[in-house]
Symmetry: none
Amino acid sequence: MESSFAVLAEPNRRAILRLLATSERTVGEIERRLRMPQTSVSKHLRVLRDAGFVESRVEAQRRVYQIRAEPLREVDAWLAPFRRFWETHVDALERHLDRMEQAPKKGRKR
Amino acid sequence: MESSFAVLAEPNRRAILRLLATSERTVGEIERRLRMPQTSVSKHLRVLRDAGFVESRVEAQRRVYQIRAEPLREVDAWLAPFRRFWETHVDALERHLDRMEQAPKKGRKR
DNA sequence: CGAGCATATGAACCGAGAGGTATATACAGG
DNA sequence: CCTGTATATACCTCTCGGTTCATATGCTCG
């Protein structure tokens, strides 16, 4: 229930997310692909769902899980102030800072 | 010593990093700004340094800490496969995902 | 040199969370 | 219905990491 980062701190959860990045999956598929016990998968999915990283739909006896963008986007946003540390040289940095002081309009391409 | 995400899971450490994003700081400055006990600051800085998030230089009796890009960049890279979930038009993407489970291929919309 | 400040480290304590086991629920098909 | 499959949940245990308190180290200056 804490921060998105806390949720991502767990390696198995990151593995699940990476798997779902490709396409949606049922619990059983995840279980087999990642070779982890079903109860463990279910629990991690619970955490991921509570934190908004995934959502599930019911399909007969199975639940199909898929990615939700929100929290990942937040993490991405958190990184923004640090990008200047690796994104190019000084001139680009200055432009970047200039833009930030301007009106907080729409984001541009990356 | 595990993942960078585990390091970022700690709120105080994220606060320290955000503070250092602006400019480098001494331990005392961080301590005062964030109002946390010095020993706590030092320990978090230790973790951050071991994980490569910061580096320190000695200046008389003080240590000045500053950001290192590497690990943050890695986190940024980890997010790459997920960017497609929000960087394009969301409505079309959702529809796309809904029917994506059928073919494990690269089914583009008709 | 000795006092005082700035920072690091060690030990004990404590709560959160991950894994395992067992079990509950729900649906499908014979 | 009964059995088997698919998924979720409760409970317990055990580890790990964060906090606090006490102390060590190192530098500056009077």
